[in-house]
Amino acid sequence: MKVPTVTANKDDTWVVVPCFNEDAHEINHVLQGLVGQGWSVVVVDDGSTEPLLSAISMSGVHVCRHVINLGQGAALQTGIDFALSKGAQYLVTFDSDGQHSAADIPKLLHPLMTEDFDVVLGSRFLKDGQALNIPFRKFITLKLAVWFTRLTTGLQLTDTHNGLRAMSRNSAMRFQITQNRMSHASQILRYIKTLHLKYTEVPVTVVYTDYSVKKGQRISNAFNIVWESLADRLV
């Protein structure tokens, strides 16, 4: 697939990377990929047992640290707030466990910059997207999540729980992630729906390694996500 060229000022594009107890080698590898491409990067250390700052061995990466662990949703919102305060025009959310590819970022930004989309979601299940070495149980759970999302929000998506997404400054300022833990992905989709944000999906590659599978959430957590999503609407 042809990777579109992005002409935007890279200082204005912030990549938000939420982290919790990440392996120093793995996180540096991820950050190298991002910094190497010239993006501005903010890492949110979500109360890791060992503060992450000392493990990061490169300059140009901003680190915000939660003094206690709040969850990935809260970490994302902290990173988004920080990036906005630094004048970010485009924001990308990016997982810290090495699942995502920095090479996909220009593909995500392209629709934001050229076609006036508000939010661009990465999809591993679109044609040209890839989910390399995906465990079968994970595949089934994600497909169920897609089905559940279509049923509850009516958004016709192919991948609903992918941490790789991009948004414009304006849309990021219009919502606030209040689901501190893992239900933030569903919450963002609900915001897309209720705020009538213009969205699209682009194919991305997600690589499952032993490390990322170990770091990833357990499949049983899907029940918690469904529960939190329902409770979110009631209270």
Binding site: M58, V61, H62, V63, L70, F82, N180
Partner: protein
């Protein structure tokens, strides 16, 4: 009856006293809670009265009425507590986020 009534009355008085002594809440809240204490107090003193009230609203026994009221009151309290918990979590998140953004640092090249 001989043992239960004085024991329950003692317990309800102790609860009412500790509420008034240790919990500061709005006047309205206090009045509502005191009314509840009073109702419980009367129900202990005159158990048959609960049956009269129960019959009036179409429930067979006073004990059943007490059980229903207790169940709903408990659920109501749970809901209130849950929403308070959510609010505390929101405030805690805001506080930690504020600290995190204020004390953001830049990684430095080592070696």
């Amino acid at each position: 009856m001989k043992l239960a009534q004085p024991l329950f009355i003692l317990a309800i008085c102790a609860l009412a006293w500790s509420y008034l002594a240790y919990f500061r809440s709005s006047l309205l809240d206090r009045l509502i809670i005191l009314a509840v204490f009073l109702a419980v107090f009367l129900a202990i003193l005159f158990p048959n009265a609960t049956s009269v009230v129960a019959n009036m609203v179409g429930i067979g026994r006073g004990v059943d009425l007490c059980l229903y009221v207790f169940s709903f009151a408990t659920l109501f309290c749970l809901l209130i507590l849950y929403s308070r918990l959510c609010r505390m979590e929101r405030i805690q998140t805001q506080l930690i986020r504020h600290l995190a953004i204020r004390s953001a640092e830049e990684g430095s090249a080592q070696t």
